[in-house]
Symmetry: D4
């Protein structure tokens, strides 16, 4: 992370890190500068508001926010920044993340949150890359390569499966 | 409302008023001073934070907050006030208020919201009265009378039903 | 619990105690007198009715009731006391507490239950403190301190996370 | 209803009557004495307890109870009577009766409620008839005839459909 | 089971027995004759139809049927017998029994199934006892004693809990 | 329908016809002989069993069965015929067909039902055509043409939309 | 698998194989030629389109496709082949396969997918056999024998259960 | 739309236009060039693949895709383009868009879709603007102004509400 952070990865509690870490790994894979922090909407609301308000000025281009249950962090950040905010529904002990998903995705008209799947922090990272790549031909090409690698891996898995069942 | 407001009734949009009005009617029935306002978590976040932060100092004892969808208002207010906050899940066009309910009730440990039923603003008002009555013998007695009236009405409904079917 | 109980913590079965204990711990943390008991709506209905009917006269200010499945205890107590009743949806083996939540929160107009999250007994305790604090400046200040502690803990967690990932 | 009531049809509010009336019609069809009343668990809890406690002594054999939302009436009656209690989930404005269904059917071990479909008061009536018929050969035969009539009607519907489409 | 069976306990597969066994235990507790069998709606449909058709003639008074997933057994039996049929939703590997519950409880008008809670075979047994007791004063009294025992156990649990926390 | 029926379209009640008629229209479009009938699992169980048992012998190749709520018809037919059975979840007044869907699709291992979308009788018809076409090159080609027509219609809709917004 | 493949079993990832293998076992039991492969809608979309487009020409009669979450594979294949496509909702870590089920079954009018139960790959295999059997009297008879075996097994299970409980 | 399209708004059918039009209006409000088209995943799969494959090369920066039910369009486009794809769950006649939401948001790791609320096409448009603004200071400032306007409107609604109730 020697480069200047352009993606902010935040979460309501450090207990969300095992999920959110997957977003950070994507940043490392694509060589994108990022920062990670605990920014709790409910336990440090003023600091959370400040984080969102200052984000664009500090050079961030995208915010990834993970939260569980009554997951208010992504939506509150989106309300105080003009930047795109990606929300990751973190599943808690009960309800399999359905509460987290609805709390994040069902934002009122005016304040969007780009929601990914339950526990889908890796996709949140990849979405951040796509957003950055929309104005960065080199990164767009890198994303294309990444997709080609996905295809190669899936194709290889198919080859092995066919081999295994002798077809 | 000549009396000093002790209950704050807030909502994310004036479109929630037809639901939230039922809470205000309870205040009128019990002669309790209240204020009502639009305080949107997503459209006026700083003002929302300020509303919650100042509430106790301004003499409020209870806050009733209604919101729909990704309903962040009750939880965010609860994070900046030590007062009891009552959340009313306002049903939107889809999902019958299930998203509103989960977004309000599933708060993380540390920051409670007293949640009532979907669209249950009348009960939010009555809950505020009970909270005030816990330290006000006269109001507690008045709540007891209210419950006796409920019983009388239900009993009368039973009498009419029995009459109607001739039993 | 040398002090006079002002909060009653009741549950349908002693199997709910591992969940409900968290509410009792809050009472201890805030130095609030409480009592705890098994009061089953379905197995000892008359005693349950008596418990609710006598609660205010015995000096209780708030009742916290936990129940699972067809969770009738909070609502039934609310029907026979003018005090605020807090309901804790206890999750059972199936359905992740969704049945408990709906059975508690969806009360008819006239009889409110202040519902907290599934398994959220700690928040039930904190809500009881807030209700008591609404008329007790010292307790209100203590709740403010508690919230500051929450913030300090979250801030420290953020510091450690930033340290760990070297940002 | 000149005959002695053996079935009690109760509901939380007279607004449930349009649903519950279908149970009463079954009683009329089968010539079974019944009574109908408003017995609200939440608005007249003592009277509700008394109703259930006295039911067997007054000659009732089966109780049919309809309720919506946090539907406590069937389960509470079942807790104070040894008679079979049939619960009808009455759908309210939101959630399509799913809250009513779960609040009625998910009773704890020890206190059963015989639950029928959402809004299924007609089936509640027919279930009461079957319960009575289990010890009444004439009524059992009458239920067999009823089922034969159902078959005849369905068969006739099939004949008309085939005729209509010319098959 | 020396006595003549009056309750038939059937299930779609012997894998349902660990759940359904709880119904059989109730029969033993109350000294009621019963039979238990595998009667699969989907694997032995003709025999299932025959089981239901012959049940009343063989002296059965109540049928308890457990099934999971697309749980057709209770409803199909109810369609070929005039006896009361109690349905037990057996939870399978996925969906926590919600599919089983809806498949059993949502019967069309004309053919009722008395549905109990997910996995609630013990309550199915107790409901069968209540149905038999409706015409059997001795059994009704025994059910009353059973309910008194439930109360005594719950009361004792409360005493121990109070003792444990020193209140 | 001058041709010999190879597809049987059955439903639990003639009230399902407005939904199921869409399957019949597909048969007409593709010139496939079909029959339609009311075959209620719950009101005429023996006839339903007979219908399924005799289907293959009468020359049917595919059965389409629509049902709502506790929708047992498709699964019961599948248990008595070796033919492919297509199930159409018919939505009832409550629950938007979710009960119908789960009751049809969640069949136990051994007895499959080919389930289509809620209210998706047109797709049930098209699935029947595909099943027949698997062994009928001319019909397979006709299905290919049908898919080309779908594409042409969608393409034309796109053209009109682009025209309308001037893009 | 010495015979020419007539059934194609495909899945989005080799991690789906433990579920989908059950479909392949059915092919072996019935002596039907099949092929199995990884064909990911999201990781190798062009190859997936090609697989579906070529399927009929290569001699396949039925395609079985398993997928989880936003399960697009069955529906996309159905859009490019006139053959019957059977969809198997594979359950992922969260939501118990409900997302997979809805993503597969709720296809728009025009493009059907024959959906089986969550994780129901064995039934997908059996459905494929029924589809093939619709035009193959020998295979149809074999399916009839299979159903008779199911009955024999269920009957034997019943015998053992009756023996075990001494009834 | 005289400017070069940088946002592509596509949908499965022109019946989705009343919902998706809200995204186009945002483009007009912010002066962003866009194109709109019907691109059905299920009715014109090859053209859909081509649309996604060519999008970046044609100068598009963001794709907004709306779809209902088994909503495959957003995910399939995301699989063939490296650009950010925003998915709008369009609610259909049943299930209130819950099927559409899950089909869009629950994408497997590797291929993200930025999902907005059910029917939330306006937010999809605003999210596209934020994505474009991340690299366009003028547009970022314009988004800041838009958010200030939202605040002004909400504040004015609050003023009118306070006026109306005389507080």
């Amino acid at each position: 992370m020697s480069t200047q952070p352009v993606v902010g990865i935040v979460m309501g509690s450090d207990s969300d890190w095992p999920v959110m870490e997957l977003a950070a790994q994507v940043m490392d894979e694509f060589g994108i500068g990022y920062e990670a922090d605990v920014v709790s909407a409910h336990r440090m609301p003023q600091e959370m508001i400040a984080y969102g308000t200052d984000a664009a000025g500090r050079g961030l281009k995208v915010i990834i926010a993970g939260a569980g249950g009554a997951a208010h962090l992504p939506g509150m950040l989106a309300s105080v920044t003009p930047l795109p905010v990606i929300g990751v529904p973190v599943p808690l002990k009960y309800l399999d993340g359905m509460d987290s998903l609805l709390s994040i995705v069902q934002m009122p008209a005016g304040v969007p949150v780009a929601t990914v799947s339950i526990g889908g922090a890796r996709n949140a990272g990849l979405l951040a890359v796509r957003i950055l790549a929309a104005h960065d031909p080199a990164l767009l090409a890198r994303m294309g390569e990444f997709q080609a690698e996905l295809k190669a891996q899936a194709t290889e898995k198919g080859r092995k499966l066919r081999e295994r069942i002798g077809s």
